[in-house]
């Protein structure tokens, strides 16, 4: 480093300055010394001493002169060197300042200007050019590179912005597709629209990456919807044939049971039971497949028949104990549904209780409707399975996808309950097992009591000795037309209606069918006017019915018992059928 060398140079210069003054002093001092020596020297030696002294002084003078000359020369050289050094130092400092300026001011300014969008040449021309060629080159290279980098950055930035915009748009479309379009499409497909309709109707994303999968998804979904709908329709149709066959078989079996006795009768009962179970299974599937029940009743069905009709459809019907004293009847339109529902619940109860235990069914009439309790003494259901059962019977979930394996019965219960507004609740049974409480709302009940009460006294006053059991089935038949016409007769209305109902006949006794009534109905109403003579006859003879009807009954009984080999004329039998029960009423 040159910086520490400076003091040395300065010191030597000072020394050189002081030495130039030293030399004359030395000469004077030596001259004085020589003079003193010459003066002090003895006389004899004076010339020798003087000569020696002069010679010596001359030598000293010569040495001094030489030395001073050399010294001056060296001084001059030093001065020139110092000047050079100063110049170099200045140069170096200028250079440093330039570099400093370049690094601290120019380069940032260039970078800034270039980022601001100024062209490379413009930037270079606007700035002071550094004197150093290396720096100039460096500046040039730097400017070019920075300009290039700035350009690339700008490109990258614009690319990034574009990407971001695209991404944002894609996200927005995806969100719309997920939140609005697809749900709407799925619900449209569920309603039965075709894939093309759905695709045309809704607003699909423009992005092909989203559009094509969405489209193929819709087509696939439409296809599977169509397939499931077709499968369901086909099953329902096929099942309806099986149902018709089953109903036909049951009717045939009943017919055969009338004709055969003995061992065959037992076999027929077994077949009947199997067919009834088959009917339950078929109905269950048909209902799940969106079909209908196999039977529709055209008259109110009394509770006893409802319970028997339900219990007869399950395998373990012998284990079910019915406790029913209700005379209520279920309206015809709901009777089959209620029977199926109860059959499923009884089946469930019987299947989930030990095979030796009984299932008890209680019927209570309450103001809220008819309460039917089915209690088993099986294992208590776990909370989870009870919750599952509750959920199944609630009817909230009607999707076929929620069906689990073979346990279809409860889903059917749920559907029927939802259809008829029946509430089905599970609770732990007091017998240790599980209890199901079924509440049939009043609108499912046939309004039979209002008509019955005014009718009973009339019958009893007209024919006090009549032995006809004015029991529920016959009265129910009476009340059916009001039900089917949707009229709920009050007492007054019914009483006012009675005479009209009682005389649907021409003066010469031929039946007249009232509009909206079946012939059988007119026929049932007609003989009421003919009751008094027979009643007068009865009161005399004692027996409740006239001899003709008694003989007819006897004859029918013999035929039914199968004791007669030949089959009687069916027309005669029909005629008896018409007159027999009609005169009873």
């Amino acid at each position: 480093m040159s910086v520490p060398a400076r003091p040395r140079q300065r010191r030597s210069a000072q020394k050189a300055g002081s030495s130039s003054a030293v030399f004359p002093t030395v000469l004077v001092v030596t001259a004085a010394g020589a003079g003193a020596a010459v003066g002090l020297a003895p006389e004899g030696a004076r010339p020798w001493v003087a000569g020696t002294a002069i010679a010596a002084w001359a030598c000293v003078a010569a040495v001094v002169a030489f030395t001073s000359a050399r010294l001056r020369q060296a001084q001059r050289r030093t001065v020139s060197r110092t000047g050079e050094l100063e110049m170099t130092k200045n140069n170096w400092m200028q250079h440093g300042a330039e570099t400093d300026q370049l690094v601290n001011v120019t380069l940032p300014a260039i970078a800034k200007q270039l980022k601001g969008g100024t062209g490379t040449d413009e930037v270079l021309s606007a700035l002071p050019t550094p004197s150093d060629p290396y720096l100039r080159r460096m500046l040039h290279v730097f400017t070019t590179e920075v300009a290039e980098a700035v350009r690339r950055t700008a490109d990258a930035q614009s690319d990034l912005d574009m990407m971001r915009r695209e991404l944002a748009q894609g996200t927005k479309e995806l969100e719309r597709l997920t939140n609005d379009t697809l749900p709407a499409a799925v619900s449209l497909l569920r309603e039965g629209s075709s894939a093309d309709t759905v695709l045309a109707k809704l607003d699909w994303p423009a992005n092909p990456l989203l559009r094509s999968p969405a489209e193929s998804f819709i087509r696939e979904l439409a296809y599977s919807e169509r397939r499931s709908a077709a499968a369901q329709a086909a099953s329902a149709k096929a099942l309806s044939r099986v149902q018709a066959k089953t109903v036909g078989m049951l009717a045939d079996l009943r017919d055969m049971q009338d004709r055969h006795g003995g061992e065959i009768f037992g076999d027929l009962l077994r077949l009947d039971h199997s067919t009834s179970q088959l009917g339950l299974m078929t109905d269950r599937l048909a209902l799940l497949m969106g079909g209908r029940s196999s039977r529709v009743w055209n008259k109110p069905i009394v509770m006893e028949s409802i319970l028997r009709g339900s219990v007869g459809r399950i395998a373990a019907y012998r284990r079910v104990r019915l406790h029913n004293s209700s005379k209520a009847a279920i309206a015809g339109f709901a009777a089959e549904g209620v029977m199926h529902l109860l059959a499923e619940l009884m089946d469930n109860a019987a299947n989930f209780s030990p095979p030796i235990d009984e299932v008890h069914v209680y019927v209570e009439e309450r103001s809220a409707g008819l309460v039917i309790t089915i209690e088993d003494s099986g294992l208590k259901m776990s909370d989870a399975s009870m919750r599952r059962a509750e959920e199944s019977v609630s009817g909230r979930i009607t999707d076929l996808a929620s069906l689990q394996g073979t346990r279809l019965g409860l889903s059917v219960v749920g559907r029927l309950a939802a259809k008829h507004g029946i509430s089905v609740n599970y609770r732990p049974s007091s017998r240790g097992g599980t209890g199901v409480v079924v509440l049939l709302p009043p609108q499912l009940m046939a309004q039979q009591r209002e008509p019955v009460t005014p009718e009973r006294p009339r019958l009893s006053t007209d024919a006090p000795a009549t032995t006809t059991a004015s029991t529920a089935p016959s009265t129910v038949e009476e009340t059916f037309p009001e039900q089917s016409l949707g009229i709920t007769p009050t007492d007054e209305a019914f009483l006012a209606d009675m005479p009209r109902r009682g005389t649907p006949a021409t003066p010469n006794g031929l039946p007249v069918r009232a509009p909206g009534h079946t012939m059988a109905e007119a026929e049932r109403g007609r003989p009421k006017t003919a009751t008094p003579p027979s009643e007068a006859e009865q009161s005399g003879t004692g027996p409740a019915r006239d001899a003709g009807s008694r003989f007819g009954a006897f004859h029918r009984g013999r035929q039914a018992g199968g004791t007669l080999g030949g089959s009687p004329a069916p027309s005669g039998e029909d005629a008896e059928h018409q007159t027999g029960p009609a005169t009873d009423d």
Binding site: F265, G312, P473
Partner: protein, 118 residues
């Protein structure tokens, strides 16, 4: 759909009426006269009620069967139940002295024919 729109008849199957039995315990003859011994009570099976009401006057088994529109075997089982509970009594027909005292079959058939023609 090929099936009928509505069903007439009753939903009860006969095995539910008899509780699964198909064999009658007591041998009631077709012409055995049945007489109720008491009034029907509440909670009784409806067939029992009807039988008790029907048989306030002596009524033959076949007649009961025809009135209830139930097969003879079923009525026999029901009557067997009632008989076991002591709610009905049966009057068995006296056996005929001899076959000769009975009317001729041809005569009976003629009577039947005449009745049918009424």
């Amino acid at each position: 759909m090929s099936r009928k729109p509505v069903d007439i008849g009753d939903p009860d199957r006969l095995y539910t009426v008899t509780g699964g039995r198909s064999e009658a315990d007591d041998a009631f003859d077709l012409v055995t006269l049945i007489v109720s011994e008491c009034e029907p009570t509440a909670g009784m099976q409806s067939e029992h009620t009807r039988i008790l009401e029907l048989c306030r006057h002596p009524t033959a088994l076949v007649e009961v069967s025809a009135e209830l529109k139930l097969p003879i075997t079923v009525v026999r089982i029901l009557l067997g139940d009632l008989h076991a509970m002591g709610k009905v009594s049966a009057r068995h027909p006296r056996a005929a002295e001899s076959v000769a005292t009975l009317p001729e079959t041809a005569l009976l058939q003629e009577v039947l024919h005449g009745l049918r023609n009424l």
